[in-house]
């Protein structure tokens, strides 16, 4: 029997999905849908937009208003959608290459405007769909098919980037911490402004194999053992934090939202009439 969430929110006839066995994306997608379910939104008012890559195939499986765009451009398309109909809850699903390399400019400017879009990055540290090239989040020294001798690029901290650019809600979870994804996505969608949620995924097929990280289970165990919630980290000593990465809700603030601000301009002229 299929789960209630799949029955209610997935385009069942579009399944099975294209993701490899052991990929973390399915867990993340389910956690997002769970958040939407718990928020109780009508499916008609949700619009999910994606770019290109493994993660960006997600909207095709979902029974919402969905748009699969060009590489890196999801946020620019989403901006047009949100401007045209501010009542829609616009969610962007993107990957590390899609959002931080080719789409990096759109990311920082959407964040800067604080337009009410919730962006969820499926970060698997690699270009999966094209076969394992290093991405802006591949850790320095790690390998990809285009970094056969080790990656010499410094990797982005996506959450720091989004926060610095002006996002008003920022958080990180992992495919292992599925409940946290749901919590962050719920808060992100409810935030009236630009929300950025990084979900650390696993790619055993390319990233794992290239870098001898073991199988999918080992990679999930790595996420379990090395992620520390920011609340717990505050009371932890430096030694315990060494080599670990933070998850949890990193930042939130209330600031004017872009489409609200634009509507104020329209209202000036409506009063004049």
């Amino acid at each position: 029997m299929v789960s209630g969430l799949i029955e209610k929110y997935f385009r069942y006839n579009r399944l099975p999905h294209i993701w490899c066995p052991g990929c973390g994306h399915g867990i993340i997608l389910r956690s997002i849908v769970k958040a939407i379910d718990e928020l109780g939104y009508n499916k008609d008012e949700i619009c999910v937009v994606s770019g290109i890559g493994c993660s960006s195939r997600a909207p095709g499986y979902l029974d919402f208003n969905t748009l699969h765009t060009t590489h890196g451009r999801a946020l620019a398309f989403a901006t047009g959608i949100k401007m045209a109909n501010p009542n829609l809850k616009v969610i962007v699903i993107t990957g590390d290459g899609d959002c931080a390399a080719i789409g990096g400019n759109h990311l920082i400017h959407a964040a800067r405007r604080n337009i009410d879009i919730t962006t969820i990055v499926f970060n698997n540290n690699i270009y999966g769909m094209t076969g394992g090239q290093y991405s802006p989040t591949t850790p320095k020294g790690e390998k990809g098919t285009t970094a056969p001798y080790g990656n010499i690029d410094k990797n982005f901290d996506l959450c720091e980037l989004a926060k610095a650019a002006g996002a008003t809600y920022v958080g990180r979870a992992t495919a292992y911490h599925a409940k946290l994804i749901t919590e962050l996505v719920k808060s992100g969608i409810q935030n009236k402004g630009f929300s950025f949620i990084e979900t650390v995924s696993v790619c055993p097929t390319y990233y794992g194999r290239k870098n001898k990280k073991g199988d999918a289970v080992n990679m999930m165990k790595f996420l379990k053992d090395n992620a520390i919630n920011i609340k717990a980290a505050k009371s932890s000593d430096a030694e315990r934090l060494n080599g670990k990465f933070l998850i949890g809700e990193f930042y939130k603030s209330i600031e004017p939202e872009y489409t609200d601000e634009y509507n104020k301009i329209i209202n000036i002229f409506q009063k004049e009439r």
Partner: protein, 377 residues
């Protein structure tokens, strides 16, 4: 209501036309010589309840207008050469996903940054083939400020009717030239809106066509249809497919929806062609010089006339073929080193002599120069 008579430049007439056509969303990026279109849109759109946004780049502007159009707003962007190159990625997206939108390209000297403040007609081929793959496109090109107003409306109408990106090719002269124009009454303007689906929710197939009409009805996001749109080859449901049969069917329909409706889409002007032995083919600001040259030639007893394509893509092949059977020589005058001339030659070359006369140094082609060319022939 009295008719409004105004002195305005082409770029302003473009915005006036767009708003009259129902434009309610504009996304753009500053670039000479099209910037006034963004500036005037920013000023006028909120007054009619519309929206303007200055995006972070040209690519994003093109993406944003597609997003807004899918959400139900008539949308436009404007740019010039370098920006037009950047927009090509998502112009292809609008073509395959069949999203109505208007792209204004005020042509300036190229290649690259080229001559930012000088006129050119060097993007004729880019307008047709700028984005990769076989795709449908419509491109219109006006010769006056008033015609810019009219053709902007027509661009919206054609894009809505055929669900295709329409490119309005201005050149720097038409964009910045000021002329007196009479703005028609609202009631006298024909407005075409996209066909909406009548299906029950759940039975809507976003790319399903009915009968001979090759254009599928279009729902908007948020209306309850919950459809999927992709830039991948897709079937009638809108979902991706790798099937060669599906690919063949989709691409053929995209091309055919323009091809079989050419009669409706193509427009042109003929001037003194009845008894002409020499025909000039020219468009945009160059056609104005050509008209003067033809008047001068006629005064000298030379039987010259003008064929002015207003729709430059698709090309008026049947009309040019007919023309080539009546005249001895066709001279294609364009502000580039030979683009449209190759198309004209392809159609007319078997029937008459076809000569190209062009320039790409940022200067207008003058009536005297065209007259000299006529005399040479």
């Amino acid at each position: 209501m009295d008719k409004k008579v105004k002195l305005m430049q082409g770029n302003e007439a473009c915005v006036e036309g767009a708003i009259a056509a129902g434009m309610r969303f504009f996304a753009g990026y500053p670039i000479t010589p099209s910037t006034e279109i963004a500036e005037i849109s920013a000023q006028k759109l909120p007054r009619v309840g519309g929206k303007f946004i200055q995006m972070e780049d040209e690519i994003a502007s093109m993406a944003a207008i597609i997003g807004a159009s899918l959400t139900g707003l008539k949308s436009m962007t404007a740019t010039s050469g370098p920006g037009f190159s950047l927009k090509q990625e998502n112009i292809g997206y609008a073509s395959i996903a069949e999203v109505p939108c208007v792209i204004v390209n005020v042509q300036r000297g190229g290649p690259s940054t080229g001559l930012p403040t000088s006129p050119a007609q060097g993007d004729v081929m880019q307008a047709r083939w700028g984005t990769h793959g076989d795709h449908p496109i419509i491109a219109l090109t006006p010769s006056s400020v008033r015609e810019t107003f009219d053709l902007t409306i027509r661009s919206f109408n054609l894009s809505e009717k055929y669900r295709v990106p329409v490119i309005l090719l201005l050149d720097e002269v038409i964009a910045h030239m000021r002329e007196k124009i009479e703005i028609p009454n609202e009631d006298d303007i024909e407005i075409i809106n996209r066909e909406k689906p009548e299906n029950d929710i759940g039975e809507y197939r976003p790319y399903e066509t009915k009968g001979e009409r090759l254009v599928p009805p279009m729902a908007s996001y948020g209306e309850g249809y919950r459809f999927h749109v992709t830039g991948l080859i897709h079937d009638e449901t809108g979902f991706p497919s790798n099937s060669p049969i599906v690919a063949e069917k989709l691409i053929k329909r995209l091309i055919d929806k323009i091809e079989v409706n050419k009669e409706d889409i193509i427009s042109f002007e003929e001037y003194n062609l009845d008894d002409a032995e020499i025909a000039i083919v020219a468009f945009g600001s160059t056609a104005r010089s050509a008209k003067s040259a033809i008047d001068m030639a006629r005064d000298m007893g030379i039987k010259a006339g003008l064929f002015r394509p207003i729709t430059i893509w698709p090309i008026a092949d049947e009309e040019i073929d007919e023309l080539s059977k009546k005249v001895k020589t066709i001279i294609v005058v364009e502000m580039n080193l030979g683009q449209y001339v190759y198309e004209v030659e392809r159609i007319a070359g078997k029937n008459c002599n076809v000569i190209g006369f062009g320039r790409a140094n940022g200067e207008l082609i003058t009536p005297d120069e065209i007259l000299d060319k006529i005399k040479e022939v």
